[in-house]
């Protein structure tokens, strides 16, 4: 189970250190990644979050089609993680 959380931490650190993921978004994601015991049974949402962080693009909404994820997507998934989903 912890493997997906480790992956979330790795990809978040990578996106924060080397790409455009802002600190205000990276921090809550890292909080999730480092407290797997709080998110048991929610691995499907964690998988979605990993994909969204990996494909995060500040300009995701800029083109005619949206083929990356932006801060709204990540914020929404973080909210779902805190809800009964």
């Amino acid at each position: 189970m912890n493997e997906i959380f480790r992956e979330l931490e790795e990809v978040t650190v990578e996106q924060y250190d080397h790409h455009d993921l802002p600190k205000w978004l990276a921090d809550p994601v890292l909080m999730v990644a480092r407290t797997p015991e709080s998110y048991q049974g929610k691995e499907y949402l964690i998988e979605i979050l990993v994909a969204q962080v990996r494909e995060y693009d500040v300009y995701a909404e800029a083109g005619c089609c949206k083929w990356a994820y932006d801060h709204e997507d990540i914020k929404r998934t973080l909210r779902w993680l805190e809800e009964e989903r």
Binding site: E47, I48, W67
Partner: protein, 377 residues
Amino acid sequence: MAVYLDCNATTPVEPSVASVVMRFLEKDFGNAASPIHDYGVFALAAVEHARGQVAEVIKARRDEVIFTSGATESNNLAILGLAEAGIGRGRRHLITTAIEHKAVLEPFEEMIRLGFEVQILPVQADGRFDPQRLADALRPDTLLVSTMQVNNETGVLQPLTEVADILANRDICWHVDAAQGFGKELEQLRHPRIDLISISGHKIYGPKGVGALIARKRDRQFPPLRPLMFGGGQEQGLRPGTLPVPLVAGLGEAAKLALRSNGERIEKCRTFREKALATFAALGAKQNGTEECTLPHVLNVSLPGINSEQAIKALKRVIAVSSTSACTSHTRTPSHVLTAMGLSPEKVEQSIRLSWCHMTPEVDWHEVETILRGLRG
């Protein structure tokens, strides 16, 4: 209960796939095309996640995955969807092989009716088509080449790498029916020259009724496909209709597992294969298709002196096998694949196909051998 050895017809569903499907049937039932509330947004998030999971298997882009009802629909879209482009460009020559599934051969028959010329390449005794024959068949007006990745009856891997070399720098669409190889043989389908790839959910431990056509973009352009259905504009206008979110999410989960567990699954299938090969060798069976190119989960053999129908009936309490592809086994037409490989009608009538997977339990091979020997009297 007989051990199921017909995984090329359909596979059992992975437990985690079933869980994901149930989640989107029972609880998260929103419409991905209604992202105006959390129900719809979550459904859309699940669909896009699945799209990424499918794309990852073959290193495609997420926006290149078009969800369909299965490989048959994907094949139809890939072939018939190019008709308008071919007519408009004056390119009416199409090439395929004699061992394709009916879901490819029959759309080609429809293309003939629409005025196209179809060239069908023969195959060799080893179950593979000759890439040189393909190279020789190409013409300036060739619109489409369609070649399968893995044959459904023999499990033989086709020479796609050679085809990629032949088609490099040629403005010809190349479609690969990968229903039997997607998620099993990973490298071939990652070749960027392949324009269109058909895949199926229920061949990779996912649900029935879902698949995808992967349409690789070149210079940011899709292959010149036209939709076969209209109304709704989903899937970039190529496949309208409300997406079956539970099935799509299940396909995504199946694709994820196919990638993650590929090596482990292959090893289990190889171990199983050794026992199957030993049993049929002891019976003097002849393998149909070259062993070195056959995927580890399939074995097609002709059993001298034993009619396949009799064999299948006699074995039915021990193993569940078939004599040909699921889509033609009810017609009693001799296998067009084995016939194309040059087998005599007698050998075709003596052929059975066994196909297993990483979830297949042990088989009592001694009993299988005893039953088959008994049929020879």
